[in-house]
Symmetry: C2
Subunit: 217 residues, 2 copies
Amino acid sequence: MARQERAIRTRRTILEAAGAIFDEQGYTATTIAMVLERADVTKGALYFHFPSKESLAQAVLDEQVPFGTVPPQPCKLQEIIDITFVFGQRLLSNALVRGSVRLTVDQSSPPGVDHTRPFLQWTDHLVEMLQHAREQGELLPSVEPRDTAELVVGGFAGIQLMSRALTGRDDLAHRISVLWSHILPSVAVPGLLLAVDSKPDRGARILASLDLAGDQP
Amino acid sequence: MARQERAIRTRRTILEAAGAIFDEQGYTATTIAMVLERADVTKGALYFHFPSKESLAQAVLDEQVPFGTVPPQPCKLQEIIDITFVFGQRLLSNALVRGSVRLTVDQSSPPGVDHTRPFLQWTDHLVEMLQHAREQGELLPSVEPRDTAELVVGGFAGIQLMSRALTGRDDLAHRISVLWSHILPSVAVPGLLLAVDSKPDRGARILASLDLAGDQP
């Protein structure tokens, strides 16, 4: 294995261990020692990639949005729906995603860690996709892409944490489906309402079709 | 002042101080000493009312739902909308509400503190109101009261935390208004859509009309 490839794998191992510990402990209670033990790497290797706990947390936060990668769809609203379901599935299967989401939604924002970035990145991504959807004639004229994007991002943040608190995220896919059944009639042109798929098992079906379940994006 | 009345006021002073500290520090970093200093009460008085940090956190959590008290409305959907706007206003003005919400949404759930209770209490309250709305013919037949109630509770939790992270909750009333503009068409019978008021300043107007701004429920 080339040195560079090894470095990339080590960095990933550390990030995954850090994500798991941040998920379990939260930012404040997490220590570098816990991450070292979980990742089974040397202190030197960790500090080579991440000079501080803050930089480790920021890297975990910055890994979040790529986990919403989904196959492109002709209907851009369907693709947005797919992002939420696939990301929901990855929350179940991937501790790095869970740690990243915990750092985003927990209130403590230590100096040097910007936990607002995933909110902004998700919103910008969805705004762009909604504009694409508009160009394709998928949206009702009343839709303001930024308002709708922020509602989906904020609403998703809340339903996933309520699902975690009440059922350990067992009912997350159902809650995502309920979210879409409530907001789609205010967003999509009527002709699309029967065509889009927002059933609870949407995310599992996409991941199965990609044979990607459990993989990184 | 009668002894009982004094005890009730002392308990309230402690709860308000604890709410403020939990809001600023989160559960883990909060100490009884911080609460004592903020409340300016004796250790004996605090332990008389709250034998532990856990019992203090639970009491702060259990104070949350009464802050959603609003004047009754002939239209029950309007009353539900009012709850979200008034609670949003109280989040801005009241540190006890903010501390209670932080304890609810932060992931850490220490042994002995049940942070799921506000989610369940809010949901049960909204389910009951939606059933009342249904009896009055306000709801579309497709509405499942529990799904809708959980979406409103979870969605609200998320949009308030995104608003806090991005704008210090400055745009919370706007975000609540956006939530309703997206979900009302899927919930209310068409004839109600023009009659209900979900403008961003709804909460401020209700509180002003009650001359209750800043008061406890």
